[in-house]
Symmetry: C2
Subunit: 378 residues, 2 copies
Amino acid sequence: MRKNYLLTPGPTPLPPKVCQAMAQPIIHHRTPQFQAILKETTEGLKYVFCTKCDVFILASSGTGAMEAAVVNLLSMQDTALTVQGGKFGERWTQICKSYGINTEIIDVVWGQAVNPKDIEKKLKENPKIKAVFATLCETSTGVVCDIEAIGRVVKNSDAVLVVDAISGLGAIPLLTDDWSVDMVVCGSQKGLMLPPGLAFISVSAKAWSKVKEAKSPRYYFDLIAAKSALDQTDTPFTPAISLVIALKEALKMMKQDGLENIFARHKKMADATRSAMQALGLELFAPTAGSDVVTAVKVPQGIDGEKLVKTMRDVYGVTIAGGQSELKGKVFRIAHMGYIEESDIILGIACLEKVLAQMGYKFNLGTGVAAAEEVFLK
Amino acid sequence: MRKNYLLTPGPTPLPPKVCQAMAQPIIHHRTPQFQAILKETTEGLKYVFCTKCDVFILASSGTGAMEAAVVNLLSMQDTALTVQGGKFGERWTQICKSYGINTEIIDVVWGQAVNPKDIEKKLKENPKIKAVFATLCETSTGVVCDIEAIGRVVKNSDAVLVVDAISGLGAIPLLTDDWSVDMVVCGSQKGLMLPPGLAFISVSAKAWSKVKEAKSPRYYFDLIAAKSALDQTDTPFTPAISLVIALKEALKMMKQDGLENIFARHKKMADATRSAMQALGLELFAPTAGSDVVTAVKVPQGIDGEKLVKTMRDVYGVTIAGGQSELKGKVFRIAHMGYIEESDIILGIACLEKVLAQMGYKFNLGTGVAAAEEVFLK
């Protein structure tokens, strides 16, 4: 018998109701039946995005929506500012460069959050900057950014603020309208408790004014076509029907729980995880800017980080994530996002303890679990 | 009690095994477990595509793969030839134009197939043409093209042949390698018996030589990145995991049936449908070039075509398709593609008979069904 547990920052586990929704016979997308679902999910997304603006559902992974943001806002030779503090911040830069956008870059030390003042400074130095691309939670490092403060800074410029919230939306606060975020990009397989395959993007009035002028070539990700279709409760191309039906179920669950409660649950799980790691004598990779979405932990000296992750998965069925890019083998990452609750965190920590002990790391068995329990009992 | 029957040219009904595969708990994509599935599905797609070349799985609808073909083959100001005989042929032109490609167009009367000699002539007249974009089965008209003959023509030029086989692949013959088709584009929700959300694209050696030179901006649909990833049994971005797992089941079924048997089943269902329509005194929209994938039928005078489709769906639960674009209200379309067999066709025809009779169309009840039965008994 082998049961599997997923504590990775995407995909995250699926609620049974979501699984069941996908197992239903398929329906046609150009029917009143599907239109009702499209309407309900589009409204539900507005709740989760904390926006009154349109949110579009794309059939792609999150990166597709990132590309949609770039090509719909900018034209070749335009200038953008990207914030890079990990693999996904770098992706903004890569997409911009692919489309011939001049890219100013703020390089942030991996494990730290960008200082909003640095963005303010760049915007003042270069009034040509039309868009600022930031990341809510940098999945590769576990760092969360102060999007609210960045929003205050960008709001006073002509630039729009685009936030990759692929990791984080629906798990930690992101008040799109209140924080003046012009485009929020998200994927389905994280806080929204779905399989990957859908992406979402919200568009503010300020962003629309740029979309109308943007000349980057685009077809599949053209938001003007998406808007015309959505105004008729339709999509420009065949939507990923079964995933949209699953989205309906997930959004219903999220509305029932309430965003405030969801955020509180994530915060508690993150606190418990961080506390457990410290109790085990492990060092957090982002001690001051750790997100409530995923916790990156430094692999202790003498331990093979890749083997640790592999053993947890292959021997005990508990899948956590290793490090990506320059952090490969140097950190492991425990996600506490989506359809995850206290018991999942406890079993993940216990499994980590067992494997660390087997690998010769010195600590008292149960210390991590005890620290987590203490947080949960508060 | 209302049971629903889908006879639309995408989405097509899902086999229970496919539904069940999607209801399983999700697994992480960067694991040996998913890598094995990616390997098996990539191999299975080669069987269905009748190719030894790489076939890539994209997280998008079919149009995404059409865009991938255009942007990976061509640069701005390059010249392409598109064949337009319906809504989906026009889409090739639209995508090319979106990317600044000079587009020569062969306009074919809707309901007829392109004459391969017209393509040969265009290629001789304009040696700048780098790519020919055609459609295997034009879903909007039901017309099938002679891709084999087009392949013979394009093969002798410097141009590559790209075929939109979104409708048709896995239902009617398309011998990618033998017919010298350089790129074949497909979607998941047609002959492959899956929900929409995946797209596929094959790339020949001749196509790769163009991909290496193409300068159209691209990121999400970049096939060079897809190739680097696939060589390590990986995808450049998070794949639509649950759909890929479902694909594994569908491909297993197709391999068990065998392509020849699948093609024969589709041909018989199409013959039965055409025969039934004619027995009912209805006129086929594409009498000489009708595909074995979907049959378009002219709405008889005095009958409201949109009401016909709506009544079949809302009163009897049988969903067929109406006309698209300029054919709206003028044709209805019965699909016989994917997880569909004789009994589905019979019930569809019977439902059509009932609604036509209610709407005042004069014919002898049962005539259509009898004609279909006759074909099936042959």
